[in-house]
């Protein structure tokens, strides 16, 4: 009895003690996708997706995948394969479709009255212990609640959630490829989106995910996660990543006026990251009358929620308060007011594919991620494979020592991550007072950056001098050239949030392979809370629908979307708190 427990306690320590052969203490960029739907999501399966989690992970690792539509014999009419496999991925199916009959908790089901179920209802921990020791003894017999031949349990033995958890375990290949057990909490309030992905650190996860049925507010979700995961004493750990604030009609980043510091800290403890861009549009910043940052006119949806997409009379224009930049500004404003920042958000991107195709971000080969596009049950769709204002989505990039769950999860937690709109550009950013001015000319950018500052996602340490920010970017070896690096600064002045976008490298029309700049903030005021993040732009390249229009001879002049796209990367910010 004792031996398995001792092993279970020791195993993580033993694993942690064995670094990968190519572990790099200065960290390397790993590319992944943390938002992937498979046929376990109803909006994916109803439009013909048959990919399941195991196949999605194999696709992420480079295997070809058959895609809908399928012919009568079940043969796919399309196939897709990543030219470059991903380093990590998480399947995030909608929890609302993962619910299962809980034999012990559903009166009237066979087995409900079995002695173990009665025990479970009055003393759950004891029954958990009995059930687990029973299973781990491996006698092959099933307990009373499963019926004489075990059939009651067999019918509930393989559930979608079990399949998701097992698929992640099977796909995780220490040092080679990382998977995460995950799901999407799909809350929406009258069509206004509050969706969030829950990413677990390891295989120790709740028995069932807390869905919108169990937890109807983000606060209730965090409370469920606290109770069943982070404070359950089981080794479970999780973080929550909100997405598509652009479809929330003002709801995603709405805070109560009387937000307490405790509430702000709980929010930022569970939600260290936000998805800045994906298949259903960009959420970084707002473009509209009076806006100054022209580069915000990028993959913006024409409406502010899904009710606007389907019921045009309810359509609202995109809102500034639905952008991640606005949230970051509100965060530091609250910091100044109550001493805690509810929106200390690092930034990533992902696909939100509903085809089970993590990392399928090529503009040249966008299959239409489908979930909200036109369903195509049995033949190739005519025209565009997706609504023209949707896009292939982006990638999440983590600066991690090695390709392991522990290393990548730690990078997500400390926000040393960035997002790209698809291309694999490398972007590194440090902020600090002791960064050398010649950092860009030195061969040891990373070592000197860590020595003299903090990486993206970090906090500037105390000190009166103005900080410097070093940003270095290398283009995607198979992508377009880089046009410029910008730093987006937000600060609070006289109680009001302010923002400014600074070109820290001259725009280069022909583009460059790499760009680098050490920039000192001339307006730094140590009494004002502030953040800085980098935005790196490529030169314009054809947008996905232009490729389709050209290949299929379609007249695409009627579309309002531009024919080209300014692909880009957004880093997590560095913060200053007085």
């Amino acid at each position: 009895m004792l031996r398995p427990i001792v092993l279970a306690v020791l195993a993580p320590c033993l694993l942690a003690a064995a670094p990968c052969p190519d572990r790099n203490p200065l960290r390397r960029p790993l590319f992944g996708d943390l938002h992937v739907h498979t046929a376990f999501s109803h909006d994916a399966s109803t439009q013909g997706t048959r990919t399941l989690p195991r196949e999605a992970y194999r696709f992420a690792r480079g295997e070809a995948l058959g895609l809908q539509p399928f012919d009568v014999d079940g043969r796919p009419l399309r196939t897709l394969q990543l030219e470059r496999p991903l380093d990590f991925a998480a399947v995030t199916d909608h929890a609302e479709l993962l619910g299962e009959v809980r034999t012990c908790e559903t009166p009237g089901l066979p087995g409900y009255d079995a002695w173990l179920c009665r025990l479970h209802r009055v003393w759950p921990r004891a029954s958990f212990f009995v059930m687990n020791t029973h299973v781990s003894r491996g006698t092959g017999s099933r307990m009373g609640l499963c019926g004489p031949d075990g059939s009651h349990c067999l019918e509930a033995a393989l559930t979608p959630w079990r399949e998701i958890v097992d698929a992640a375990a099977e796909a995780d290949d220490r040092c080679g490829f990382t998977s995460f057990v995950a799901y999407e909490w799909t809350a929406s309030v009258v069509g206004r989106n509050l969706h969030r992905n829950v990413i677990f650190a390891n295989q120790t996860v709740p028995r069932m995910p807390s869905s919108y049925y169990e937890s109807t507010t983000p606060e209730a979700l965090w409370e469920d996660l606290r109770r069943e995961c982070t404070e359950a004493g089981t080794g479970c750990d999780a973080l929550v990543i909100p997405h598509n604030s652009n479809l929330s009609a003002g709801l995603m980043f709405q805070l109560p006026e009387d937000l307490t510091p405790e509430q702000a800290r709980t929010r930022s403890a569970f939600e260290p990251l936000v998805e800045v861009m994906q298949h259903k549009g960009d959420s970084e910043c707002w473009w509209g009358p009076g806006a100054e940052d022209e580069l915000c006119a990028f993959e913006q949806l024409p409406f502010d929620s899904f009710r606007g997409k389907f019921l045009p009379f309810l359509e609202g224009a995109p809102r500034r308060e639905d952008t991640t930049r606005w949230a970051l500004l509100q965060g530091i404003a609250r910091q100044a007011e109550i001493g805690a920042n509810p929106f200390k958000l690092g930034q990533i991107a992902s696909t939100d594919t509903h085809l089970g195709t993590p990392g399928a971000v090529e503009e040249k080969a966008h299959p239409g991620h489908g979930g909200a596009g036109a369903p195509s049950p049995d033949r190739l769709p005519e025209g565009l494979p997706d609504d023209v204002f949707f896009n292939p989505g982006g990638l999440a990039v983590a600066w991690a020592e090695e390709n392991t769950r522990a290393s990548i999860f730690a990078a997500l937690r400390r926000r040393e991550v960035y997002g790209t709109s698809g291309p694999r550009m490398i972007v590194r950013m440090f902020g600090g007072r002791a960064l050398p001015d010649d950092l860009c000319e030195r061969p040891d950018f990373a070592a000197a950056g860590y020595a003299g500052g903090v990486p993206m996602g970090g906090d500037l340490p105390a000190g009166a001098d103005g900080p410097a920010f070093a940003v270095s970017a290398l283009r995607d070896a198979q992508g377009a050239r880089l046009e410029r690096i910008q730093i987006v600064k937000g600060w609070v002045e006289d109680g009001a949030p302010r923002e400014r976008v600074i070109d820290v490298t001259e725009p280069a029309a022909a583009g460059a392979d790499s760009l680098c700049r050490v920039w000192r903030d001339p307006d730094f005021d140590a009494t004002q809370p502030a953040f800085w993040y980098a935005r790196v732009l490529e030169v314009p390249t054809p947008r996905w629908h232009s490729y389709v229009c050209r290949a299929r001879g379609l007249d695409c002049s009627r579309f309002e979307m531009p024919e080209t796209i300014r692909e880009r990367a957004w880093t997590s910010p560095v913060w200053w708190t007085p």
Partner: protein, 267 residues
């Protein structure tokens, strides 16, 4: 005319005889239902539309939508939904029930793990498939195409003699800064090509270890390469691929289990 001799009677009798004979001879009409239809019918026969929580929630929601002013509770509305046959018409409920049947078939397949002989036989059948590509760990000195423009090739050639006799650690300052650093992780040709582009990957795989080779070209410019360690391509041993083999066999068994179940249900 006696009734027994009436031609109409003979005609009818003969017809009835022929009909009976034909029926006896003809094979039973094949079950023309698709796989999904077979699974759905079975799920409904088992009453899953009544026990499955997703189906129940969905049907309650649909019934509420049809009767927005109905004050009856969810249970009563659920009864209404079943009476109306909403569980047959709703796409989400149908998909869910079909999926449940598939998972049931899979759990039957999973109950029986593939044995050692089966794993070894599968391995022997396609051992050549389990091959790990050659990998190489390099340091490099980089010359930027952006910075050097038309002088890139001249500078790259001139760098050769300067590198003579220098260890990689002592050579870092001779080139231009490179964001990914001067030492790369152990990578295959495909992985190197994905990261750096150009012919550098092929050159790195072909270069001798322990001395400088070059210049080779990436998407970013020219590089001199130092190979630290080369890991030749190799066939993986059975034990190394056991988990992958087990997963593959289980996948096949699951497909087979669904086929078997559908076969049983079709009779």
């Amino acid at each position: 005319m006696k009734l027994a001799q009436h031609p109409l009677l003979h005609f009818l009798l003969l017809g009835a005889l022929l009909f009976a004979a034909n029926r006896a001879r003809a094979p039973q009409a094949p079950d023309s239902r698709s796989v999904d239809e077979v699974l759905l019918d079975e799920a409904l026969a088992r009453g899953y539309e009544r026990t499955d929580p997703i189906a129940r929630r969905r049907l309650q929601r649909n019934a509420r939508f049809l009767h927005p002013d109905d004050l009856r509770d969810d249970e009563a509305l659920l009864g209404e939904a079943w009476t109306l046959g909403l569980h047959r018409s709703d796409l989400v409920v149908r998909r869910r029930l079909i999926q449940k049947m598939r998972l049931l078939a899979w759990s039957r397949a999973d109950a029986d793990e593939p044995g050692e002989p089966e794993l070894r036989a599968a391995f022997a059948l396609r051992a050549a498939r389990w091959r790990e590509p050659a990998r190489v760990r390099i340091s490099h000195v980089y010359l930027s195409r952006d910075a050097r423009g038309p002088d890139l090739e001249r500078d790259a050639r001139a760098l050769g003699p300067l590198l003579e006799g220098r260890a990689p650690e002592a050579a870092a300052g001779l080139g231009d800064p490179f964001l990914l650093g001067t030492q790369l992780p152990t990578l295959s040709e495909a992985e190197l090509a994905a990261r750096l582009g150009g012919d550098l990957a092929a050159a790195a795989l072909a270069a001798p270890a322990g001395r400088w080779s070059g210049p080779a070209h990436s998407a970013y410019g020219a590089h001199w390469i130092w190979v630290h360690k080369r890991q030749p391509a190799r066939d993986l041993a059975f034990e190394e691929v056991r988990p992958a083999l087990r997963a593959e066999l289980r996948r096949r068994r699951r497909d087979e289990a669904v086929r078997t179940l559908v076969g049983e249900l079709r009779g």
